[in-house]
Symmetry: C3
């Protein structure tokens, strides 16, 4: 399976969903969100552990703000709902889902990573969320999942300051489970260890 | 097809979708609702009459209140939407859907039974809906379908009192179409009689 | 693939989705919207250019107003969401989608045509949208897409006056791309020319 939004790489005992885009930013446009949702549903029919990843510079730059700005009320709300559906499908995936993060993991992209059961990041990855400033995007579950993961105080700071968080800081906050130069490789290794014994 | 939420049993000319869960209560959690929706959509591609059932003690205990309580506003609303989508998919299933009910059939579980075209219950089954007390759950269509089926007065009484209704009373109210010691067997028999002549 | 709502006709290098209904009006009922959404998703898995059409008298008469009237608030909102989802799936279809329009193309049916990339109409086709008068139906994206296509002034006039627009006027407004006695045939020809060179 290969579309303009992602490609699926079948490994021996798991799958890699590699997001891709012409500008490399893997923006979560409406059409990408729909395509990812359909693919997650399809993969869930014959589930294998799944590693979701991007490229070296971007896991995902998040939602497409230009697109959101062009939406009127109901359409913006629908877009928010679409994202929530994608996050729920990932969260409910019958077997483990790993986010393997290199580069920027921002906004809706961070929401997506938070919906995965495990997060492994490269030492140069960067995390951020515009949080409260953009009510819409935080409708994707990040405002719920982040506090549960790293505590209310840190999450609030991250949202309010819209601060960029380094990989090391993300590890300290337990926003990610581990750092590795090649996050996809470590995810694959953990899948072999944890799920296939 | 078999997941932790249900299994599909292929009969000669119809299918049984048997809900299951580790605690036997078949709670309509977010993930179960998503899994059931995906399965109903899948079955609709090559439709056969369908019997939805649970176990002897529970058809379904309804939504997972703990889960709902943990949701913030948008997420709770999304959960309500998910349930509505499941009910619509059942209601729009291209051929007949039967609910074969034993034991408790409560709240969202009753909504699900009401979305089916026919309901057959065991003499020991019990029905109930928390109704108005829980605005959220009644967002699954029960507040609409129940009055249409049993009349406004009876439905209101059932919601407001949150009373448990016995199988015999449910039959008198025409909330169910028939009682039978083995509801799945009678559903199967009715399918053979009605749909395959 | 053939249901009571549509049939799929496989051509050499594209597909025709022909809506059908017992009364010929191709009303966008809740069940039809769900069935179309499922089919568009299914076709997107192995995409070919798609021509959506109706019959000689009706592309589609739009949503089922009687059905909408019977819905309470949350259900009506869900219905609006369902339609938006269908429109988004069409808009995000990986290859070109053509609306081939004969006869009436009204309300939600016009929203559907507007979600397609191209519109070809017969000289006797008629367009209309109840617009502002029915907040609900315009929730399907027509109020956004129409102004983008034909300009704010013309769109407003069309909504407010709820005027019926002739095929020739629709062409002048660039609401449709071309007129042809057999819109499906021209769509097929354009697909051959544009997409298969």
């Amino acid at each position: 399976m290969s579309t303009s939004f992602f490609q699926i790489e079948e490994q021996w005992s798991f799958r890699i969903l590699r997001m891709r885009s012409s500008d490399g930013m893997n923006r979560l446009t409406r059409c990408r969100v729909l395509a990812l949702t359909a693919e997650i549903r399809r993969l869930a029919q014959e589930p294998l552990p799944l590693v979701i990843t991007g490229n070296d510079r971007f896991f995902s730059a998040g939602a497409e703000l230009g697109e959101i700005g062009a939406l009127d009320g109901p359409a913006a709300y629908e877009f928010s709902k679409m994202g929530q559906t994608l996050m729920s499908e990932i969260e409910c995936f019958p077997v483990a889902v790993y986010a393997a993060i290199s580069g920027y993991c921002m906004g809706g992209g961070l929401d997506l990573a938070l919906a995965c059961r495990h997060r492994i990041a490269s030492p140069t990855s960067v995390f951020g969320h515009r949080g409260a400033a953009l009510g819409l995007i935080t409708g994707w579950g990040g405002t719920q999942r982040l506090p549960r993961l790293i505590g209310k105080g840190h999450a609030l700071a991250m949202f309010v300051a819209a601060a960029k968080v380094s990989a090391q800081r993300a590890l300290d906050l337990r926003l990610v489970d581990a750092l590795a130069p090649d996050p996809v490789a470590l995810a694959g290794q953990q899948i072999m260890n944890r799920h296939l014994v």
